[in-house]
């Protein structure tokens, strides 16, 4: 809400890398990630725990602190968020780019009323006076569907139910009408019916406020129901990318194929759910070559020696696999 700038370009992430200095050595949590988010677009980021999806979001937001270190470019409205001075970044955070977290119980301050936690956002980024802030807060509570807003603003997070808490967090994130919302597993901590309501709310807000959304989740069902495009992450790297329809119809990376095969589907013939053998590699000790090769049934010698680059396969489709043709040609798993 500060100075009007051209955010018509959306978000452009290039070579984003996050290194953590841990007692067991350097951990490469995010490696060389390229990601584009067009205005009004909803992009899904999917992967197992530890695949780097949350760290990617936090790196974009500039929330990584020592012992972590972020390099690369995060372009937003022609400016690079990574290289920007702290105070300039602060003005963008919460106003142009907002973020919501997985667990609203821990992400909301337990000792402050929800209204205060919402209004402090407005204090930081706008010149609204106390009465205008209250009015805006009430309006936001209505937008996200929290009834009895007047009373609830004075209440504390522990007085809210799980779903209402997540709505409150969304209201706080939306306070300054951000152009980009980074959502870090916003529905993981909620039960399924509430999950659905929150996703519908996000979609509805995206449409009404012409906002871009990056949705991080490990739930492919969530991606299928909401996103336009998706990126699959494994061991800190994007291994496959494309429109949700394309990726679901014909995965080009064995890991994506494995993920899709591990999701039960309604209406299909009942078959055994397949799981991906093995566990994700340690980030301090990645295997040589393709990080996925120890768990991959398509792996050959080259996979053990060389890391496959993320290649463009046309039609806005990318995959990082030497055998993407074989994967695509393999018998459909769905």
């Amino acid at each position: 809400m500060s100075v009007a700038i051209d955010t018509g370009l959306g978000l452009t992430v290039r070579g984003l890398t996050a290194l953590f200095n841990t007692p067991r050595g350097m951990a490469l949590a995010v490696a060389d990630v390229d990601l584009d988010v067009a205005p009004g677009e909803m992009v899904g980021l999917v992967g197992e725990s530890g695949s780097g999806k949350s760290v990617t979001l936090r790196s974009i937001m500039g929330l990584i602190q020592t012992p972590g270190h972020v390099t690369g470019k995060v372009e937003w409205g022609g400016r690079d968020l990574v290289a920007m001075p702290a105070e300039e970044l602060r003005r963008i955070r919460g106003s142009e780019i907002a973020m919501i977290f997985q667990e609203p119980m821990t992400a909301l301050n337990p000792v402050l009323p929800v209204g205060l936690q919402l209004e402090e956002n407005l204090v930081a980024h706008t010149r609204l006076n106390a009465r205008e802030r209250r009015a805006r807060a009430l309006q936001l509570m209505n937008t996200v569907g929290i009834p009895a807003a007047e009373r609830r603003l004075n209440e504390y997070p522990h007085q809210f139910s799980g779903g209402m808490r997540q709505r409150a967090m969304i209201a706080i994130a939306l306070a300054c009408s951000p152009k980009l919302l980074l959502a870090d597993e916003p529905t993981t901590a909620l039960d399924v019916t509430i999950q659905d309501q929150i996703l519908k709310l996000l979609l509805d807000l995206r449409d009404r406020l012409a906002m871009s959304v990056v949705l991080v989740t490990h739930d492919l069902g969530v991606i299928a129901g909401t996103c336009d495009r998706m990126a699959v992450m494994y061991a800190g790297r994007i291994v496959e990318m494309g429109t949700v329809i394309d990726v679901f119809r014909q995965p080009r990376h064995p890991y994506t194929r494995g993920l899709l095969g591990s999701v039960p589907r309604a209406g299909a013939v009942r078959t055994m759910l397949s799981s991906i053998e093995g566990t994700p590699p340690s980030l301090t000790d990645l295997p040589a070559g393709c990080a996925f090769h120890p768990r991959c049934s398509f792996a050959t010698d080259i996979c053990r020696q060389e890391r496959p680059p993320l290649l463009s396969l046309g039609n806005d489709r990318k995959a990082a696999c030497f055998h993407h043709d074989r994967v695509a040609a393999a018998e459909a798993i769905l």
């Binding site: 000792v111 009323p113 402090e120 930081a124 994130a173």
Partner: protein
């Protein structure tokens, strides 16, 4: 911080409940004091008469003090007198105990208050510095210094302060208690600093580790993601949450601080309640000892009350 609205009603009923809870505490204090004083060796009549004690005189004095009555009767008299503000007459000073206490207690209160404030002034910024520069030089220096403070006995720190700042540098008086308010602040500064030294070490260590715990909390990340100013993140989100456990410790330690005042007042020759207590123990001045114990115990439980109320204000979940 805005904290009104529906939040104040549970707080009010919490305070009320908490005050009612003090009643059994006070009764317990009265019983314990009464019993303890009667368990002390020696009897007041002999103490008053010294070597010249003869049985007839001892009996006469015991009768005048009501010590010849059965114990339960003595207790009822005692309770009645306490609530009418009559704590008896000092055996040594021949003055009403209430008058003596009212004279001496404010000195100790002021000393304790100064020590508590000094401890906070030392502990809060240093805890922040140590927490933010964790495992770095500043952290090591701060923790090392306080470790020394924590390991030295209060009387030794007092004598050191007295020698260095009083006798050698002559910055502060070596004892006594001034006449005007400013003069008293000046006289009490060294004793208060002595008390504050070890007290702030305890507070600093506790606050440092709770700041480190809080600073990695998700809500602090969320506050940063909201683009709040660093100062607001540090005070409203970090300090306020970190203080919750430190406030509890602070309240619990106030009792220790009163105990420390007894020693400090002796070292610095401050005419406070601590000195009075030592004197009355040596002199078997039962009424004074009894009155002081009650006054200090009530003060400590009032401190606990204040601590609980402050904590409930900091953390609304407490007052639920």
């Amino acid at each position: 911080m805005q904290n009104i609205g529906s939040g104040s009603l549970p707080l009010f009923s919490f305070v009320l409940r908490r005050i009612l809870q003090m009643i059994p505490t006070v009764v317990f204090i009265l019983v314990v004091t009464f019993v303890l004083v009667r368990l002390l060796p020696g009897d007041p009549a002999s103490a008053m008469l010294g070597d010249r004690a003869i049985d007839a005189d001892v009996e006469r004095i015991n009768a005048s003090l009501g010590l010849d009555k059965p114990i339960p009767v003595q207790f009822l008299y005692f309770v009645k007198n306490v609530f009418t503000g009559d704590l008896g007459t000092s055996i040594a000073l021949k003055l009403p105990v209430t008058t003596i206490i009212m004279q001496r207690l404010p000195v100790t209160l002021m000393l304790t208050l100064m020590a508590a404030l000094l401890a906070l002034v030392l502990a809060v910024p240093l805890a922040f510095l140590a927490a933010l520069r964790r495992e770095q030089t500043a952290d090591a220096v701060i923790r090392g210094t306080f470790q020394v403070g924590l390991s030295m006995p209060v009387f030794y720190v007092g004598i050191l302060m007295l020698t260095v700042f009083g006798a050698t540098l002559k910055w502060f008086p070596v004892g006594g208690y001034g006449d005007t308010f400013a003069d008293r602040l000046y006289h009490l500064f060294l004793p208060a600093l002595t008390l504050a030294f070890s007290f702030s070490a305890v507070l600093m260590r506790n606050l440092r580790s709770s700041i480190i715990g809080v600073i990695n909390a998700e809500y602090v990340d969320f506050a940063r993601a909201k683009g709040l100013r660093p100062r607001i993140i540090m005070t409203r989100h970090v300090l306020r949450n970190a203080l919750i456990s430190t406030v509890t410790l602070f309240g619990l330690q106030i009792g220790t601080l009163f105990g420390g005042a007894v020693i400090t007042e002796t070292v610095f020759a401050v005419p406070g309640a601590g000195r009075l207590m030592i004197d009355s123990i040596y002199g078997r001045d039962y009424p004074v000892l009894q009155g002081l114990t009650i006054a200090l115990a009530v003060l400590v439980s009032l401190t606990f009350l204040a601590t609980d109320i402050f904590q409930a204000w900091l953390d609304p979940r407490v007052a639920r």
